[in-house]
């Protein structure tokens, strides 16, 4: 095995280099530490502990793999940049996530320099399974520090791990830590600060055909360039085994090497068909030996896990518990969040009342109070529900129950041609289809992944919650059903079920038409049960709620203001005299107030409200938005929607939650300095000026909610699907398919309901 130990001999000396600036730049930049590890090893918890709140999330260029980076201050005060890599079992890539891990660790990732140090996180409670990645990582020949995580849990479970022996075997520092309690973190920071030399690869047998091929390729590798600082043998193994033909690694080597690699692969395929197994077989022999020497199990495997699993994955109790758990989540989601929502609603109204009078009546006051405050306020109100939903999702994930849910659901998911793995992206889509669709990256099979992407938007996301909450709150009476359920909660539950059913039907249809094909490999780890860390759960909740608010703060505010403009302009000629009159009435009212004539002041204010509503009505009828809404009214009238809903539907293509702020803007115009009537009341009591009847009925509300369950009304979803599928065909297909389905379903609900006399 030829592993260069004298790196200085192959690295170009700065004095010889023609371009010295990059070299200087490299010296000046902060040390980069990449955190690698398998799934469920506690990598992210450790990353959070090391970086605290100093972290940022972005994407790697060209792919949608999340790049989490942060800064960590070490013991002696120096700061290093820390990169949290996606969890992986092996450095041989099978998914875009794994390609990124390999590319970063081999220094061929476009925007990321070769890490100065790799921090490998190993879960001491199940070491054997993770040593595979460890062996490959050490073989790269770059400095490694091993964090032996969950050492306290391992001791409790009766597993002794000899860290000193592992340290000797790897030739790399091994630091026992506990990400949960934070013990050992000081020692870990110290180890990260020291100059760590390249580790010593663990001796292992490698069958001759693969070894000889790797040696041939290693001998051809150039001594300078991107891969020069790494073990040439490892680079050769990666080239041979990674299956790439024109990927980032293959492009990093000269053409002659690429040709040789392809030739060797086909020769090995012909002569030794099982050559790809040589690496795993060799590694596992060495791992078994290492495990025998370095670990000792003094107690049998945890029987607690067995007892819990016996119930949670029981043939009858398992699915029952799962469904009950889901129902409870959505019931409590609605009820627990309500007091908080009311409090925020009250705060936002108070803000409008406080700021409004300080501004002159007219366009500016209208812009600030009705455009900005009302728009953003209507969205912020729903943060509690989003926070609750993510609280449950991350509790399930961190406790280990999410994997059991996938285990239980797999057979069912397979009946629509998907795997239990699709369950997690789909479950995430209940919060937002964007992270959900991005989470499909873990699905190796392209057809499975596409199907999951296309059905993910049917899951009722948190952006639909504001819409559901508004309509349920306004039109569904708070009655109890069967004694223990309440009607609003039950309706909400049914909306979620409808989305799931639509997804099942569409997936089933897709798998039988456009996306037919062989089933992929499905293997999923069932991690041990753990008590979730409160800090990590709350961090997830904060991140997700933060992302939503960020979106609300930028896109929603911008859309609210644009919509305020579209709903306010062009100004109708009738508005001018009305506004003049309004100012006069307000003036009189405040003078009366100053003189202490309360009755007259109150009468003046009431007249002002009336005038404001009239102004709003007149402006809206003739505004750009009103015209657009009326233009589509004939198409949506059979669904029970009027042109005002039409405006809301059009504007919600920016993002579904915009529907709420649109309705707020549409109905609140000129009605913010005395917000006595909430949006719900407005909707309930809205009248059709042509007939004098109520514009909206509970049946219309149901039809509208069904429309929102099924329609693709989210610009961001379309954009992310475009990016994930790398085509415009799929997102266009998705928009057409979903909206056609939504129209048909709403038509059936509204017309069917009317026939049954429910209108």
């Amino acid at each position: 095995m030829s592993i260069p130990t004298d790196l200085a001999a192959v690295a170009p000396s700065p004095a010889e280099g023609l371009d010295r600036r990059p070299e200087t730049h490299r010296r000046l930049r902060r040390k980069l530490v990449a955190i690698a590890g398998g799934p469920n090893c506690g990598k992210s918890t450790l990353f959070n502990k090391l970086t605290g709140l100093r972290q940022k999330v972005a994407n790697y260029p060209g792919v949608t793999v999340e790049k989490k980076a942060g800064f960590c201050t070490l013991t002696r005060g120096s700061t290093v940049e820390v990169l949290d890599l996606p969890g992986t079992y092996s450095l041989r890539p099978g998914s875009p996530d794994e390609v990124v891990v390999r590319d970063v660790l081999l220094g061929v990732q476009a925007d990321t320099p070769l890490p100065d140090l790799t921090l490998l996180v190993l879960d001491a409670t199940c070491l054997e399974r993770q040593l595979y990645l460890c062996m490959q990582l050490i073989e790269i020949g770059r400095p490694v520090v091993v964090a032996l995580n969950m050492m306290d849990t391992a001791e409790e479970e009766g597993i002794h791990v000899d860290a000193a022996l592992l340290e000797r075997a790897f030739g790399a520092p091994v630091v026992p830590i506990s990400g949960r309690t934070g013990s050992g973190l000081r020692e870990l920071r110290e180890a990260m600060e020291q100059e760590v030399g390249p580790p010593r690869p663990v001796t292992r047998a490698l069958a001759a055909p693969l070894r000889e091929a790797a040696e041939t390729v290693a001998g051809m590798l150039p001594t300078a360039g991107p891969l020069a600082g790494l073990s040439r043998f490892h680079v050769a193994m990666a080239l041979l085994l990674d299956e790439g033909e024109n990927d980032s690694l293959m492009r990093a080597v000269p053409h002659a090497v690429r040709r040789e690699v392809l030739a060797l692969r086909s020769r090995l395929d012909a002569e030794v068909p099982e050559w790809r197994s040589h690496e795993p077989i060799g590694h596992y022999r060495a791992i078994e030996d290492l495990i025998r020497r370095a670990t000792l199990r003094v107690k049998p495997e945890d029987s607690m896990r067995q007892r819990i699993d016996r119930v949670l994955t029981h043939r009858v109790f398992g699915p029952v518990i799962f469904i009950a758990f889901m129902a409870v989540i959505f019931q409590s989601l609605f009820m627990w969040a309500t007091p908080l929502m009311n409090a925020i609603d009250f705060g936002v109204s108070a803000l409008g009342r406080f700021i409004g009078p300080a501004l002159p009546a007219g366009p500016i006051r209208s812009l600030v109070v009705d455009g900005a405050i009302a728009g953003v306020g209507a969205v912020v109100t729903f943060v509690p529900q989003i926070a609750f939903l993510f609280l449950f999702i991350s509790l399930m994930e961190d406790s280990g129950y999410l994997a059991r849910a996938a285990f239980i659901m797999d057979r069912l998911m397979r009946s629509v041609g998907l795997s239990g793995r699709a369950f997690i992206p789909l479950l995430s889509s209940f919060a937002c289809a964007i992270p959900g669709i991005m989470a499909t990256r873990t699905i190796d099979n392209r057809r499975d992944r596409l199907t999951t992407i296309l059905i993910a938007p049917f899951m009722s996301c948190s952006a639909r919650l504001p819409v559901y909450a508004l309509l349920i709150g306004a039109f569904i009476p708070n009655r109890s059903v069967l004694g223990f359920l309440n009607l609003p909660g039950l309706v909400l539950f049914c909306l979620y079920v409808l989305g799931i059913l639509a997804a099942v039907v569409v997936a089933w249809a897709l798998k039988r038409t456009a996306l037919r094909g062989a089933r992929p490999l499905y293997v999923m780890e069932l991690p041990p049960y753990r008590v979730p860390s409160l800090r990590s759960v709350l961090l997830t909740v904060r991140d997700r709620a933060g992302l939503f608010v960020q979106k609300a703060g930028t896109v929603i505010l911008a859309v609210s203001i644009v919509l305020w403009f579209l709903a306010s302009y062009p100004k109708n000629a009738e508005v001018k005299p009305l506004e003049k009159e309004l100012r006069k009435v307000e003036q009189t009212a405040s003078e009366a107030q100053a003189r202490g004539q309360r009755a007259e002041a109150a009468a003046g204010r009431a007249q002002a409200v009336h005038l404001e509503n009239e102004i709003a009505g007149v402006s809206l009828r003739d505004s750009f938005a009103g015209r657009a809404g009326r233009l589509i009214e004939p198409a949506i009238a059979p669904l029970g929607f009027d042109w005002k809903i039409g405006i809301a539907l059009l504007s919600s293509f920016a993002a579904r939650e915009v529907m709420v702020s649109t309705m707020a803007t549409v109905y609140n115009l000129g009605d913010a300095d005395q917000t006595s009537v909430s949006l719900r009341e407005k909707l309930r009591h809205a009248e059709d000026p042509r007939t004098g009847e109520r514009s909206y009925s509970p049946l219309m509300a149901v039809s509208l909610m069904v429309f929102f369950v099924l329609a693709c009304q989210c610009m961001s979803t379309v954009a992310v699907v475009r990016r994930e599928t790398n085509s415009w065909g799929w997102p266009i297909f998705m928009v057409v398919m979903m909206n056609a389905l939504a129209w048909i379903a709403s038509f059936a609900v509204f017309q069917g309901g009317r026939m049954l006399g429910l209108g």
Partner: protein, 85 residues
């Protein structure tokens, strides 16, 4: 060894094991990509595997190997030949 005992030692696939049964991997077959993924997860010849349980609908199955629990479909478990332990 009785002839019946010899018959019991005959190679079976992982999918045919009963819950609680232990076996040793003898051979894994399949397309190269699938083979590689299974091997990387530790399904190499000579590995001891316990079938822990079947999912409520009979499929997938939960396996224990090398101190880790995995869930795997019976269609894939069928490609792993085992000798009863």
């Amino acid at each position: 060894m009785t002839p019946r005992g010899t018959a019991c030692k005959k190679t079976r696939t992982l999918a045919e094991l009963a819950p609680g049964a232990r076996a040793v991997v003898r051979k894994v077959s399949g397309e190269p990509e699938l083979l590689r993924r299974l091997m990387e997860l530790g399904f190499v010849p000579g590995t001891q595997i316990t079938l822990v349980r079947r999912a409520p609908m009979g499929d997938p199955i939960e396996l224990r190997l090398r101190g880790t629990h995995f869930s795997i479909r019976t269609s894939e478990a069928d490609r792993i030949d085992v000798d009863p332990d």
